[in-house]
């Protein structure tokens, strides 16, 4: 594969700019040409509370647009990735629903056939680009013990295809080891970050965030990494708020895996959006002080 359509969803291109910067900076060097596609919109997942039909329609709509362009999809947000996966899976198993959605898509001049694949950054790196390939690009191996947070929607539920095992995912740890880092067993790695109820139950949401971060500290990790904009927002931007809710101070550097990869590849740290991480990333030896 060389060309892939980039589908950012809502959160990444409206506030999680660091993820987008790192993506655009790192992936081309690994032989992936990212193509921006016009006309796409929300994946529909956030509207699932309100009406399942909206979610299904929006997911199908986005896939139909990429299909028209003849491009497979890279969906770096697990929440989007799962919505697309589920819509695809359900339509495959429920032709009546597919027909109904297609009749609506017609209004917008679209049809969904189900011919393209979609990837998340995790399987793109691990399975498509490949560990050996990545290893070749590593110039400055990172010396740190980094906890891996997958994000609920990236690995569950296992009855639809997910990029890694639902109970014992290992790809992110493998990727961390590939860039020289250590990644001990992080017991809370399958747990929720709280993001989903941030709109309506922020205190409980922040409690989750705080507990997960505290566990990272207690288990002696140097940092936490994710491949999820929702999780990252909670752990990074909301770290201070979370600390207040659970009491005490929390000091955990939080970075997107692609930022770590970029650093290990010897990239100019300015291009990886590192100034946008609000958590204390400068604690890490490999982060340049003044960017």
């Amino acid at each position: 594969m060389d060309k892939i359509g980039l589908y950012l969803g809502c959160l990444i291109p409206t506030e999680q700019y660091a993820y987008e910067m790192a993506l655009r900076e790192v992936l081309p060097d690994l032989g992936i040409e990212l193509v921006d596609v016009e006309g796409v919109a929300c994946c529909g997942a956030p509207l699932r509370h309100i009406n399942l039909s909206l979610t299904m329609y929006l997911s199908a709509r986005n896939m139909a647009i990429f299909e028209k362009e003849g491009l497979d999809i890279l969906a770096p947000c697990p929440y989007c990735h799962q919505a697309l996966s589920e819509a695809k899976h359900v339509m495959e198993n429920n032709p009546a629903l597919k027909a109904k959605i297609n009749s609506n898509l017609e209004t917008e001049g679209l049809t969904y056939k189900g011919t393209i694949k979609h990837y998340h950054v995790l399987d793109l790196l691990h399975d498509v680009i490949g560990i050996d390939n990545i290893k070749e690009h590593v110039e400055e191996p990172l010396d740190a013990n980094i906890a891996a947070h997958y994000g609920c929607h990236l690995i569950r539920p296992n009855d639809i295809p997910r990029p890694d095992d639902s109970e014992n995912p290992q790809k992110l740890e493998t990727l961390l080891k590939t860039i020289g880092a250590k990644s001990d067993y992080y017991k809370e790695k399958l747990d929720c970050c709280g993001a989903h109820i941030m709109v309506n139950e922020s205190e409980s949401a922040l409690t989750k965030t705080g507990q997960k971060l505290q566990a990272v500290e207690e288990q002696g990790f140097d940092a936490l990494t994710t491949l999820c904009p929702w999780g990252h927002r909670m752990f990074d931007a909301k770290q201070e708020d979370a600390a207040k809710v659970v009491g005490g101070s929390i000091d955990v550097p939080v970075l997107y895996y692609l930022q770590l990869l970029g650093i290990a590849m010897g990239k100019d740290q300015n291009t990886l959006g590192l100034t946008l991480n609000l958590s204390p990333t400068d604690k890490l030896s490999f982060i340049e002080e003044e960017i």
Partner: protein
């Protein structure tokens, strides 16, 4: 109905139950009737400790038809969608999807919902996204935007009215 709940005088609601099951069947999920109340879902529910969501109870109430009390309760809005219940249910059931179905039914019957959630809908209808690109601050408290970071502009639906129409139509349709 041969059954009455003497604490509330409520009777099982077959119609509401059908609605839940219809949504589940669209997703090709099994219906709550198969639940044998092992409690595994609640043992691992990420929302239980903080917010008292008991997925096994949601299943039991849905199964026996006492659904109004769920629709009227805030508890269904506390699910964090960690999906652990669905992942681990030994009967292959999906409490999280039952909870989603209940929320959908509550919305359709005009129940008041959190403004944070309704705002997302308004935003998608207006622009295709749950929010517009924000100005964010960096480590040095400097405000930055997509533009200032050199990121391309956000792709948007070409004819937003058309999308709006289709979404309004889809929302009223039953799936299946």
């Amino acid at each position: 109905m041969s059954i009455i709940d003497l604490t509330s005088m409520a009777e099982p609601e077959g119609e509401q139950q059908d609605k839940i099951n219809e949504i589940l069947k669209t997703l090709k999920e099994d219906i709550p009737n198969d639940c044998y109340q092992c409690g595994k879902c609640t043992s691992g529910c990420e929302a239980f400790i903080l917010l008292e969501l008991e997925p096994h109870k949601v299943m039991a109430l849905s199964k026996s038809g006492f659904i109004d009390e769920l629709l009227n309760s805030d508890v269904i809005w506390t699910c964090v969608t960690c999906l652990k219940c669905k992942e681990r249910c030994p009967q292959d059931l999906a409490p999280v999807d039952v909870i989603f179905a209940l929320k959908n039914i509550a919305v359709a019957s005009g129940k008041q919902i959190d403004t944070g959630i309704s705002n997302m809908l308004q935003s998608v209808l207006g622009s295709g996204y749950i929010q517009q690109p924000k100005e964010v601050v960096d480590k040095d408290n400097k405000a930055v935007t997509r533009d200032s970071l050199g990121l391309p502009s956000l792709p948007a639906p070409k004819e937003i009215q058309k999308l709006q129409q289709v979404l309004m139509k889809a929302a009223t349709e039953t799936l299946g």
